[in-house]
Amino acid sequence: MENARFRPLEYVFWACTLLPFLVTPSYLSLASQVAVTALFALSLDLILGYAGIVSLGHAAFFGMGAYTAGLIAKHYWTEPLSGLLVAAVSAGVLGYLLSHIVVRFRHLALIMLTMGFGLLLAEAANSASALTGGADGLQGFHVPGVLGFKFDMFGRAAYAYALAVLFLCFLVARRIIHSPFGLALRGIRENATRMPAIGAPTLAHLRKAYTIAAVIAGIAGAVLTHTTSTVSLETLSFGRSADVLVILILGGAGRLYGGIIGAIIYMVARDQFSGVNPQYWYFWIGLLLVAVVMFLPNGILGGLRALRKKPQ
């Protein structure tokens, strides 16, 4: 049985997430967006890494959360924590509805259907510009801060907020992974044919996992909305779905920390490469991906684990 207790390395890791406050205070805005992306990747990991659902349309839930949070701030109130809850619920409802279709499929059809629904939603948001602001982005709202802390240019409150939400969601995800339900998800990933033969309602499990992942993705989107006071179609775009998939695979799927490590490495690398070379940084990111697959197969965490095992 996998041990559900926190390992020493995990304490060290989470302690390190506080370092940006002290060491790189001018990078806190970046850090907050890394935390949001990490949370988004974590939600994808729940379905991809643990239940084997490859999705190229996960931004649908991220964007749903982002727009819900934005619309609430614009039309009703700007207190973020309650907005976060509503955003989570709306993304979860969307996830639950789509799950009835999505989980019936596997392989390429699954990937393409998730992509198709994602693109349809993005197009719908573009068309409904009266509601969403269309290509100009949702305008006319400002989230001043959370619990009395102001979301300012330096990004202290933004990072604290994003990090706190990431950590809480991580605890929930970790709890799920180490629960009977988490074991069932791993069972589905390992062998979907066997599961019904041991009495497992596979589709019900997958629907539930998909809904939970949608909720967390929606929370990530809402945090982005709150910390930046912007929402745009980009939150729903194919590009964001593809990016988060790349980030999760880069970090290593099915390892809980893979999405977080992937988000840190991808976004910091992107920031540094594009700082040095704003026009051609794609080249270096491409090289990074190629090198990781060559030297650290199964993502950075997977590769490192294999390297550590080898000498023994």
Binding site: M1, E190, R194, P196, I198, G199, A200
Partner: protein
């Protein structure tokens, strides 16, 4: 075709390759949809039930080719089956460790079949065949369908395997597919012979052994060779 399995029976299902033995198991367990006909379990119609629902009614199976969870440990695999049986696998909030009973029960099943708790992919082949059975047993079946449990197991190990099967509760109805006639005649109380998708004959080992049609279609080769 009509087929009835009385409680506690040890049935062997034999027939040449392509006779439809595995297909029969897939139909009974619902993994293939039946075009027509009914399947009753203890008098209740389970024809329209989904595969996992049939398992909950007490109909379990194993697979001819290992269909296991390679990167779960043996204990995790069997615990999962126990949890699914009791409906605890929906629980996503309490830790696994809180389900002590399920883990203990799974460990008991592994002990009884002499399966070490290692990652499934690292188990020896024979142990993996036993794990197939352990997974099915963990669902507490009333009827157990074993699809060539001894497939690929060396002869000396297969005897141990079938001894383990034989020692299972007498309440349990077992139907197994097997090609090794020694094993079939030693362990089965009844034998069903399938040919070309139909049941040719059902009877006691003696009756089947004597039947000329069986000798013709199935044992023919052996008879001539002998």
């Amino acid at each position: 075709m009509a087929l009835e399995l009385p409680k506690g029976a040890r049935y062997a299902l034999i027939g040449p390759n392509g006779a439809g033995k595995t297909t029969l198991i897939n139909l009974l367990t619902g993994m293939l949809a039946a075009d027509s006909g009914t399947i009753l379990l203890d008098g209740a119609d389970i024809t329209s039930l989904k595969p996992y629902q049939r398992v909950h009614r007490g109909l379990a199976r194993t697979f001819q080719i290992n269909t296991l969870f390679p990167r779960l440990t043996a204990l995790e695999s069997v615990t999962l089956a126990v949890l699914e049986r009791d409906g605890h696998a929906h629980n996503w909030w309490r830790g696994l460790a809180a389900h002590r009973q399920a883990i203990d029960e799974a460990a008991g099943i592994l002990r009884s079949l002499n399966i070490p708790d290692r990652e499934t992919a690292e188990l020896a082949y024979g142990q993996q065949r036993l794990l197939e059975i352990a997974l099915a047993l963990a669902t507490r079946p009333r009827v157990l369908l074993l699809d060539e449990p001894g497939a690929g197991v060396p002869r000396d190990e297969s005897a141990a395997l079938f001894s383990a099967i034989e020692s299972l509760s007498g309440e349990l109805t077992i139907l197994f597919i097997e090609h090794d006639m020694n094993v079939v005649f030693r362990f089965a109380s009844r034998i069903i012979v399938m040919v070309g998708g139909r049941i040719l004959l059902e009877g006691s080992p003696d009756e089947v052994g004597r039947d000329p049609r069986v000798r013709e279609v199935y044992l023919g080769g052996h008879a001539r060779a002998a």
